[in-house]
């Protein structure tokens, strides 16, 4: 690099004001994530004084979605002013959707907002209006049949749907993802070591190790103390193989023995009493010499029907997955990540090492791309689109690519007699061990979750034809019925659950069925965070239910299955 003044490169472009405004979040999800966000259209369906929907929307408007629509037929009441930041005393009596829409609009002029004051039930007479959105948020309370209709439609058209309920000190939300939801950029934890392929080096890496470690014994102290540990390990592995019929250390005992071999190579008659590069090498033995096994996540992808049975219409993700699978079948490793950890080394050696890894990573990605061409050719795909970017992204973190099987949002309903019933397949089933455990585990929030569901059911069954929310909810009736509902659905000790449910419901009813602003704000933050993951297809989304207990300050995430809680 030349840095003389004559040739100094032109100063970097002044960032645009948009880049400045979104600077912080661009660090989290990059420009591709931002582009996805800026084309997201979010629909919020709500009614009654509850701030959680608007709080969620606020956290999506600020980072800059394309558009939002608020469906809410209600007018602002005085109760609203106590929980909803976006309405004030002057707006009492006005249409809430209109007031909130205007206030949210002011938060970010880049975002378009609109509102509909028709009740959602009448809008759903033509449900195709839902197709205009990329994500739907429903904030409780809502009529169960209405929620069922939305859930079915969203599921059928692969629209991500969030159902959110904030009640007193508690809240929960459930995410209904499309049937197949892949995430390539999962942003794995940086502390997870990148695969270095030490047990099966490719020729260029082996050659570099041989060259740099040549005459290791005779090196002067400075050079000896600066051989990069990756190359040291490769050197000692060669020695080991010579004594072990060409095998690398595989068992724990062998690895310990191998570590001793490495440690014995270090020079200790110096001021420091050892060598840092040797210490790094010894420390890496146990974690870096594992044979390449597939992570469960990539195995799941390789085994998915979509990967096994490709068609010309398959999404690009599955073509890449199949091409990576072919690569793995041939080489018994995933494409190389290509990065090298920091280590004690002379800069020149370190750069050479980096180059060798980067070159191999590029070579692997090129091979995957070639595999993909072959697969497409075999299927008779005419399109020449190859999507190198997707291939590169997939190969870089192949071990951590995920895909999620979404499911239709389960809806708790009240039957004619106030009984508890679930939409969807009412499959007979014994409680799974997971459910049983979750109920017995005092740390889980399962009892809270069940009680909140029972509350939903109760509110719905109580007033079929009236709006499902009114402040005079009879606490006694609720307390008498809900625990029974709850226990009958999970086949558990009614008394124990009753005790827990009683105290929870006492608090819920004491709050008058309403939400508290701070709990709704926190919940809205969590929902928005998950919505952003879904919209940008980055990071690992919550799968699929999140429960919050503001009394115990606990968050609990679990996967609710469609047939959970169905009556035997």
């Amino acid at each position: 690099m030349d840095d003389s003044l004559e040739d100094s490169p032109s100063p970097p472009q002044e960032p645009s004001s948009k880049e400045k405004k979104y600077d912080r979040q661009l660090r989290m999800w990059g420009s591709t994530g931002q582009v996805a966000l800026e084309s997201a259209r979010v629909l919020l369906i709500q009614a009654g004084p509850n701030a959680v929907g608007i709080e969620t929307l606020k956290n999506l408007v600020l980072p800059g979605i394309e558009r939002y629509t608020i469906v809410d037929p209600s007018v602002v009441t005085e109760e609203d002013t106590g929980v909803n930041f976006f309405v004030d005393g002057e707006s009492i009596g006005q249409l809430k959707a209109k007031v909130c829409c205007q206030m949210l609009q002011e938060l970010n002029p880049d975002v378009d907002g609109e509102y509909l004051t028709e009740p959602i039930e009448s809008l759903l007479r033509n449900p195709s209006f839902l197709l205009g959105y990329s994500l739907i948020l429903v904030a409780a309370p809502i009529f169960s049949p209405t929620l069922k209709t939305i859930a079915a439609y969203a599921w059928e058209h692969e629209l991500p749907l969030f159902y959110i309920h904030s009640l007193g000190f508690y809240s929960y939300f459930t995410v209904s993802l499309p049937p197949c939801f892949p995430v390539i950029e999962t942003h794995p934890d940086q502390s997870v070591a990148a695969e270095l392929r030490l047990t099966n080096p490719w020729p260029e890496l082996a050659a570099l190790a041989k060259e740099v470690t040549a005459g290791l014994e005779e090196m002067n102290d400075h050079d000896h103390g600066h051989v990069p540990y990756v190359l040291l390990l490769l050197h000692y592995l060669e020695l080991w193989k010579q004594d072990n019929e060409g095998r690398v250390p595989a068992t724990y005992r062998e690895k310990l023995e191998f570590r001793k071999l490495v440690e014995a190579g270090a020079r200790t008659e110096n001021a420091e009493g050892g060598e840092e590069n040797y210490e790094e090498a010894a420390a890496a033995v146990l974690k870096s010499l594992n044979p390449a096994t597939l992570t469960w996540s990539i195995r799941e992808i390789f085994q998915a029907t979509e990967c096994v049975e490709l068609t010309t219409d398959s999404p690009i993700f599955w073509f890449v997955a199949a091409a990576v699978k072919d690569f793995e079948r041939k080489h018994h490793v995933l494409p190389l990540h290509g990065s090298v950890p920091d280590m004690k080394a002379k800069t020149a050696d370190y750069i050479r090492l980096q180059k060798v890894y980067k070159a191999k990573a590029r070579q692997d990605a090129a091979e995957v791309l070639a595999n993909m061409r072959v697969i497409k050719g075999e299927l008779g795909c005419t399109s020449e689109e190859i999507y190198e970017r997707v291939v590169d992204d997939f190969c870089r973190e192949a071990a951590f690519v995920r895909f999620f099987r979404g499911q239709r949002l389960p809806v708790a309903c009240g039957g004619e007699d106030g009984e508890f019933e679930l939409a969807g397949e009412a499959v007979e089933h014994e409680p799974t061990s997971g459910e049983g455990q979750a109920l017995e585990d005092p740390e889980s929030l399962m009892p809270l979750y069940i009680t909140l569901l029972a509350y939903d059911v109760f509110i719905n069954s109580r007033s079929r034809n009236a709006p499902p929310h009114s402040p005079d909810s009879g606490p006694t009736t609720l307390l008498n019925h809900a625990p029974g509902h709850a226990s009958s659905t999970v086949h558990t000790d009614e008394q124990e659950l009753s005790r827990i449910a009683h105290s929870i419901l006492f608090r819920c009813t004491r709050s008058g069925g309403g939400d508290l602003h701070n709990i709704s704000a926190l919940t809205g933050g969590m929902v928005a965070q998950e919505a952003i993951k879904v919209i940008t297809r980055q990071y690992v989304p919550a799968d699929n239910t999140v429960v919050f207990d503001g009394i115990r300050s606990k968050v609990w995430v679990f996967r609710r299955t469609a047939d959970m809680f169905s009556r035997p």
């Binding site: 690099m1 030349d2 840095d3 003389s4 003044l5 100063p11 960032p15 004001s17 400045k20 405004k21 979104y22 600077d23 912080r24 979040q25 660090r27 989290m28 606020k58 600020l62 980072p63 800059g64 005085e78 109760e79 002013t81 106590g82 929980v83 930041f85 004030d88 005393g89 002011e106 938060l107 970010n108 002029p109 007193g168 000190f169 400075h222 840092e276 990065s339 090298v340 920091d342 004690k344 080394a345 800069t347 370190y350 750069i351 980096q354 180059k355 980067k358 608090r507 004491r510 709050s511 008058g512 309403g514 939400d515 508290l516 602003h517 701070n518 704000a521 933050g525 965070q529 990071y539």
Partner: protein
């Protein structure tokens, strides 16, 4: 009931205590805006808000109380105006000030029932922690980085305090902290290694791994001045090897640049202003220092000692004539760089020196210049040995190929 219906029902008689409480919120940034909204809506009776900053464009994607038209206005005052409208029952008091200002003394802290920290720096957090312990007021401490966040409740005698657990020194620092407003030895060490050393001997590296550019856009004027400053240093670099090279460098970085910083009065309202160093005066004091001082690596060097390690002494030419070994690190490194340049074939990329803490020449240069800067800013100086321990092992060169 009305507005207070839900919190009143949920909290019962406790709600009165919220209404009667007087709380302090320190910071009106990302967490502060959200927290202020929640406190106002929940109905805390009296809320005092302190923030030193003004609003910047890059705040608007999350600090939702601020709009485009508020840019450059004080955060505390705007936040009060915007949030106050949403609950007329709440009394709001805002201060555009540094929480470390002496007017916020222990008596003042004692007037609150609860303090919330929504700060972005370690130093201020520690200060509020100390004040709350002294005043025996409970503190709720909070912070976020990226997708992670934490909240800690601190109550004297009941919980641990913020400083009970030593905090890992952050590995990156805002550019302005390093270049304009250092307050700790590590700031000066990073400045010496990642700015001074690379500008004089290395490849000018705007993207040294220690530099956190996330606040650049909030300080664009200062960043632009710092860029010009670096350009000027680069011009001096061209006279490397000339007899007055050391003086030129010294007078630029410890004289001229410091005077410029000193003239920015706003910067020094709540900090000690830096004092420039005088080359001639110190080189006189340095006459008695033996160059073997570099061997003394376990104790911190004095000002003239640092000077000798860094730069030529006043009588440099005289001594050179007498055949004495010139031992200052600046000259040794200059000689190495010129040597490498002479050897490089024509048309080759011009060679540079890279920092390596195991390389005594580079280590001594960084140690001495870091300490001289510490003296300028009134910061504690460190021994060569301690500085070596603080330095990262080697430069990350990821992305070079």
């Amino acid at each position: 009931m009305g507005r207070e219906a839900y919190p009143k029902q949920s909290l019962g008689s406790l709600y009165r205590r919220i209404k009667e409480s007087r709380v302090l919120l320190v910071g009106a940034g990302g967490i502060g805006c959200e927290l202020l909204k929640n406190l106002v809506l929940t109905g805390f009776g009296e809320i005092h808000l302190v923030d030193l900053d003004t609003i910047d464009l890059s705040n608007l994607n999350r600090q939702f109380l601020f709009r485009h038209e508020h840019i450059k206005k004080p955060k505390a005052l705007v936040a009060k105006g915007v949030a106050g409208k949403f609950n007329p029952n709440v009394k709001l008091e805002a201060y555009h000030a540094n929480i470390k200002d002496p007017m916020f003394n222990i008596d003042w802290f004692q007037g609150f029932s609860l303090v919330f920290n929504a700060l972005d720096n370690l130093e201020a957090r520690r200060h509020v922690n100390k004040m709350c312990l002294a005043a025996d007021v409970p503190l709720i401490e909070s912070g976020t980085t990226g997708f992670n966040g934490q909240v800690q409740v601190i109550k004297k005698g009941r919980t641990e305090c913020y400083d009970c657990n030593p905090k890992e020194t952050p590995k990156t620092f805002p550019v302005c902290t390093i270049r304009s407003t250092p307050s700790q030895p590590i700031h000066c060490i990073v400045w010496a290694k990642s700015y001074l050393f690379t500008e004089i001997f290395g490849t000018s590296e705007d993207d040294a791994p220690e530099f956190d550019h996330s606040e650049d856009s909030e300080n664009s004027e200062e960043i632009e001045k710092l860029r010009q400053e670096a350009q000027a240093l680069k011009r001096i670099r061209q006279s490397i090897g000339s007899p007055d090279f050391a003086r030129k460098i010294f007078e630029k970085i410890f004289g001229e640049d410091i005077l410029r910083l000193r003239s920015m009065e706003d910067m020094w309202k709540s900090r000690r202003a830096p004092e420039p160093l005088d080359f001639d005066k110190i080189s006189q004091q340095a006459l008695v220092i033996d160059t073997s001082v570099t061997q003394k690596d376990q104790t911190a060097w004095s000002l003239p000692e640092n000077f000798v390690v860094f730069s030529d002494r006043y009588d440099f030419l005289e001594r050179l004539r007498l055949g004495e070994l010139i031992n200052c690190s600046l000259r040794r490194l200059s000689a190495r760089l010129q040597d490498a340049q002479a050897k490089a074939a024509n048309g080759d990329v011009s060679p540079v020196l890279t920092f390596d803490k195991d390389d005594d020449d580079t280590l001594e240069f960084v140690a001495a210049s870091a300490n001289l800067r510490s003296i300028v800013f009134g910061i504690e100086t460190k021994s060569k040995f301690d500085i070596k321990r603080e330095l990262p092992r080697k430069e990350l060169v990821d992305g070079m190929y």
